[in-house]
Amino acid sequence: MSNLPCGCPGSRAQQFEPAAGAADEAPGARASQLRQWPVQLHLVSPAAPYFKGADVLLSADCVAYAAGDFHKDFLQGKSLAIACPKLDQGQDIYVEKIKGLFEDAEINTLTVAIMEVPCCMGLLNMARAALDASKRKAPLKAVTVSVRGGVLAEEWF
């Protein structure tokens, strides 16, 4: 794929070698940490029992493919919702749903995992807007993941 004329870093083609040690992974399957279905933000309801009082991970779609150990490092112990702030339609509904997580599900914390590309910041902005609009407050953490899968930054709001 060639670069888009706009130079969007989120769409720019990159190719890289697997990280050091990636080929030496021990054999065997790692157990899934997922404990609910569905997971897509349009499909989940804040009223679902798995959100009540939970630590929730709101992950940009690409994070699960970039992070080598998504289940262990991000999903373990958390309920999940996934979304893409660049391509998904109906994002005003997303803000209302996230607000519902704070107010109705009374979640314990919200972790927003996003990619380093600028367009992904939209997901964090939605979560922060939802928290600002919510009568009930809970800790919100942003985790930024590089395209190579490393954690670049964590920040609480």
Partner: protein
């Protein structure tokens, strides 16, 4: 492990002042601690020294202690993950410190204009006593002692040191109040100044060492719990406007003394 590693900081620094100077170069001010009971080997547990500087720091400490380069104790601290700001409950405690530091900055002004012979003069000092007891202690220290510290092993030196500071602070405040009633200028001045000095160091230890160390270990689940519990305590155990009342008290004193609004030490 050489014995010096298990000695209290105060003893280490007394014998080897150079160790304190090395630690300060790595942002560790424990040599100036008023209690100094933490073991030298624990300092890596409590301070987030960048991973790439740890080996160098321990080698230099060993040389300063006259024991040759030391290797970092195994498992002393988990490697730091990516940089991370303070969590919301810790930010709340730090914000409360800011108001307490504004009172500490006012203490020299209160003492320079100390008047225990008139009702308004005594009321001013007793107002500071009320602030310390009902904001700094009941509203703030209680969140630490009754909630935050309970998530950790409270027998650890670093927590013991903080609780000893709280106890010493309460004794100073009691003596200040007694001094006001007895019109004892010297006692009020000496104890209020001692409180200022104690709390200044105490707050620095918490903001720079204790809270970041705790934040690194708490995990999301407990951070969320702490946030909720702090909110419940503030809303449920104190009358509406409790914190605002004490903010207004500080603002009034700053105005009286012509201090810049929000001035801290």
């Amino acid at each position: 492990m050489p014995d010096i590693m298990n000695q209290a900081m105060s003893a280490v620094v007394k014998q080897r002042p150079e160790v304190g100077r090395v630690l300060r170069e790595y942002g560790i001010a424990c040599a100036g601690c008023s209690v100094g009971s933490c073991a030298l080997k624990d300092i890596l547990l409590y301070h987030d020294v960048p991973e790439e500087r740890k080996a160098e720091m321990w080698a230099r400490i060993g040389e300063a202690a006259g024991q040759g380069p030391l290797a970092p104790p195994e498992g002393a601290a988990p490697p730091s993950r990516a940089p991370r700001g303070a969590s919301p409950p810790v930010k709340k405690l730090v914000a409360e410190h800011t108001l307490i530091k504004r009172l500490l900055a006012l203490i020299p002004h209160i003492l320079a204009d100390l008047d225990l012979d008139t009702e308004p003069g005594r009321a001013r000092v007793l107002g500071a006593v009320d602030f310390i007891r009902n904001y700094a202690d009941k509203f703030h220290h209680a969140k630490e002692e009754d909630i935050l510290f309970k998530y950790f092993d409270e027998t650890q030196d670093i927590i013991q040191v903080m609780c000893e500071d709280h106890t010493a602070a309460r004794a100073h405040v009691k003596a200040v109040e007694q001094g006001v009633h007895e019109r004892d200028y010297a006692a009020v001045a000496q104890r209020l100044e001692a409180y200022r000095e104690l709390l200044s160091g105490h707050i620095a230890k918490e903001d720079d060492v204790l809270y970041p160390w705790m934040d690194r270990q708490l995990g999301d689940r407990r951070i969320g719990e702490l946030h909720s519990r702090f909110q419940r305590v503030d809303a449920g155990e104190f009358p509406a406007g409790h914190a605002q009342k004490y903010e207004q008290f500080i603002e009034r004193l700053e105005h009286e003394f012509g201090c810049g609004k929000g001035e801290t030490l």
